[in-house]
């Protein structure tokens, strides 16, 4: 009997591994191996036809930290993340609350919010390129109507990053809204009524009931927004190409530049490893901190 139970257990464990194996194999092939290969690659110097690449240890990393562009790009990305993440989450939440309320033309409002999401980022960027065009663009037309002089939104260091940030928020908020909308629809309406009977107003209900119940969604959206703040750079190619003077350059764009414009793959690899490290740390911290305080149904 005991023997049987142990056998059974072992068989279950075997099944588990068998089920996990395909995914594990693919993950190893396409995620773990490249990560390790990249790390390995980042420890070598850049090879040319005359000088073959040699092992240099962490020299590439040292180079990066010594490069002022690194600090500009890192700061840019911090600002980019620090603004796009909270703002797009708040917009998404507010839009979802509104689109979930009993308003006329509700489905129109929903699809209007969702439209930016289905546009490819490149198309969206082209659209905004038109909005931002000095003098002729929609924005300048409007500001011009009130007597402001034309502004080169994308072309001057002071506004370039902000302009890029706005496009990202515009693109992301509608996407995140869908998640909030889905979560809102799983919240039974009688909770709202129970809260009303207990004397809770709209704000109290939102704060004490709605937001805690939306917390799992918020975490999910937050993680997505964070990944996007590193990953989503398509629009830079159309809008600013990281310029002017690196004012709107983000880490991933810089990596791309190093690897494919300057063909300096060891430094690009080193930078990639740094990004992976940072993201990994944030992810761990997040799970530690937030998971505990969240109610999952």
């Amino acid at each position: 009997m005991n023997e049987m139970a142990r056998l059974q257990k072992r068989r279950l464990a075997l099944y588990g591994w068998m089920l996990a194996a395909p995914a594990l194999a693919l993950m190893s092939l396409f995620a773990f191996y490249p990560a390790i290969a990249t790390f390995w690659h980042s420890l070598f110097s850049r090879g040319t036809s005359r000088r073959p690449s040699v092992f240099t240890g962490f020299e590439n990393y040292g180079d990066l930290f010594a490069d002022p562009t690194f600090w500009t790009v890192a700061t840019n990305n911090l600002i980019y993340a620090g603004v796009t993440i909270p703002v797009s989450i708040i917009f998404a939440l507010v839009m979802a609350l509104w689109a979930n309320a009993h308003i006329p033309a509700r489905s129109f409002v929903r699809s209007a919010y969702f439209t930016p999401t289905i546009l490819p980022m490149i198309a969206a960027a082209n659209l905004w390129l038109f909005f931002y065009t000095p003098d002729l663009g929609v924005i300048d037309q409007i500001t011009g109507f009130f007597g402001a002089s034309p502004t080169n939104w994308l072309g001057q260091p002071e506004t370039a990053l902000a302009s890029v940030i706005i496009v990202t928020i515009w693109k992301e908020a509608g996407f995140f809204m869908i998640f909030y909308l889905a979560a809102l629809q799983t919240i039974p309406p009688d909770l709202r009524e129970a809260a009303r009977i207990e004397g809770a107003g709209r704000w109290t209900y939102t704060r004490r009931v709605l937001l805690p119940l939306l917390m799992p969604t918020t975490i999910f959206v937050f993680v997505n927004a964070m990944i996007n703040s590193v990953k989503l750079i398509d629009h830079l190619f159309i809008l600013t190409k990281g310029g002017p003077n690196n004012a709107s350059k983000l880490i991933l764009y810089w990596i791309w530049e190093m690897a494919f414009a300057y063909f300096d793959s060891p430094h690009a690899a080193a930078m990639t490893i740094l990004v992976l490290l940072a993201l990994g740390l944030v992810a761990v911290a997040q799970f530690r901190l937030v998971e505990k305080r969240t109610h999952y149904r």
Binding site: R196, I197, R297
Partner: protein, 374 residues
């Protein structure tokens, strides 16, 4: 009770949804401290009525007064009432204690008062020791009690309950029914209770309000409803098994009270009032019928009989009775036990000279012999 002003007064209130459903021209008074049950089939407007009282729906017409104040358009929080929802509507992310004191906290009650009230509510509902659990970690009955505790913790004089027991199993339902009734009497609160279960209504209510299609069919105490149903619908809805209702023209003309038109008349008889006799018993009259089946329930037996030209009838006989299906029987009743309703509109008709129908005197002397001979 009649001299006291009513605690809740609803005057010609209508709330009509798109599609014409809802409640129509509702008027009723609810005395202070009473246990009032809104009873009716699904979709008859019970919940809507309750939500109108709660302020979760706003009346299209008419006025609602609670405790002498016109609250027709007041928000729920201004009506000093509490509510138990069918789904309990507990906040899933809050513990039992937090759920119960949610309203007190919202109303900014003092800390120590919250504490004593919480302790009281927990004790009264027998939830001590469960304070820190989440609703998902409770059984259905415990959740129900948390909802109840949340309703009584604020000490509101009025508590509304919308089918609070429908998610419980039969046995638990019976126990909780009694608990709720006891609690109501101990706290002296007014309870308006919605149910579609007539047993629940009959066993709990001081006053039953029977509704149908958004209108009130009958208001009265349980005995009134059972003994003097105001309409054929009320007769058929209250009582288990329900009253047998058959068109009067399927009956011999001799049993129709004088002055009634048999072609526009419904006859009703409670199962326990129906007297069965087998062929040998020579009653001066009797309606021929055939037994189609029986249900033995321990203390009593239900017999189903087919009467030509009708949907059949049910008889309730004490103890165990064995009659095989197909047996020919003859049905009779004590004259006063018969209910007569207008065939078209369903309202109750009273024979002009009560108790003088032809059969009355002849049968009364031997109601029991029929059953015992079987």
């Amino acid at each position: 009770m009649t001299s006291q002003p009513p605690f809740i007064r609803i005057s010609s209130v209508s709330r009509v949804f798109n599609g014409g459903n809802g409640v129509h021209d509702l008027s009723l008074d609810i005395p202070r401290g009473s246990f009032v049950v809104l009873l009716g089939p699904s979709g008859c407007g019970k919940s809507t009525t309750l939500r109108l009282i709660a302020g979760l729906e706003i009346a299209d017409h008419g006025t609602i007064e609670i405790d002498g104040k016109d609250v027709t358009s007041a928000p729920p929080s201004k009506r000093s009432l509490s509510m138990v929802f069918q789904s309990y509507a507990l906040f899933p992310h809050l513990s039992v204690a937090e759920n119960i004191v949610f309203g007190l906290k919202v109303r900014k009650t003092k800390k120590d008062e919250i504490k004593t009230r919480l302790a009281d509510a927990l004790r009264v509902t027998g939830l001590e020791g469960y304070e820190d659990r989440k609703p998902a970690q409770l059984s259905g009955g415990q959740r129900q009690r948390v909802a109840l505790a949340r309703a009584i913790v604020a000490g509101h004089p009025l508590c509304l309950m919308d089918e609070p027991l429908s998610n419980l199993d039969a046995k638990l339902r019976h126990a909780v029914r009694k608990d709720i009734r006891d609690l109501q009497q101990r706290l002296g609160i007014t309870v308006v209770y919605v149910t579609h279960d007539q047993t629940e209504a009959m066993s709990m209510a001081d006053i039953v309000i029977l509704m149908k299609d958004g209108r009130i069919e009958q208001i009265g105490n349980p005995a009134d409803l059972y003994l003097k149903p105001a309409t054929a619908f009320a007769a058929g809805f209250v009582g288990s098994p329900p009253m047998t209702l058959i068109p009067a023209n399927a009956l011999p003309t001799s049993v129709i009270p004088d002055g009634f038109d048999a072609n526009n008349l419904t006859f009703g008889i409670r199962p326990e009032d129906l007297i069965l006799s087998t062929g040998q018993n020579d009653h001066p009259w009797g309606i021929p019928a055939t037994v189609t089946g029986s249900e033995f329930l321990g203390a009593e037996t239900f017999l189903f009989v087919a009467i030509p030209g009708t949907d059949g009838a049910t008889a309730r006989l004490p103890g165990r009775v064995e009659i095989s299906p197909g047996t020919e029987v003859s049905l009779s009743w004590v004259g006063a036990a018969a209910h007569w309703f207008d065939g078209e509109h369903g309202h109750r008709l009273t024979p002009t000279v009560p108790g003088t129908s032809a059969q009355d005197t002849k049968i009364t002397s031997q109601p029991d012999t029929a059953t015992s001979t079987l």
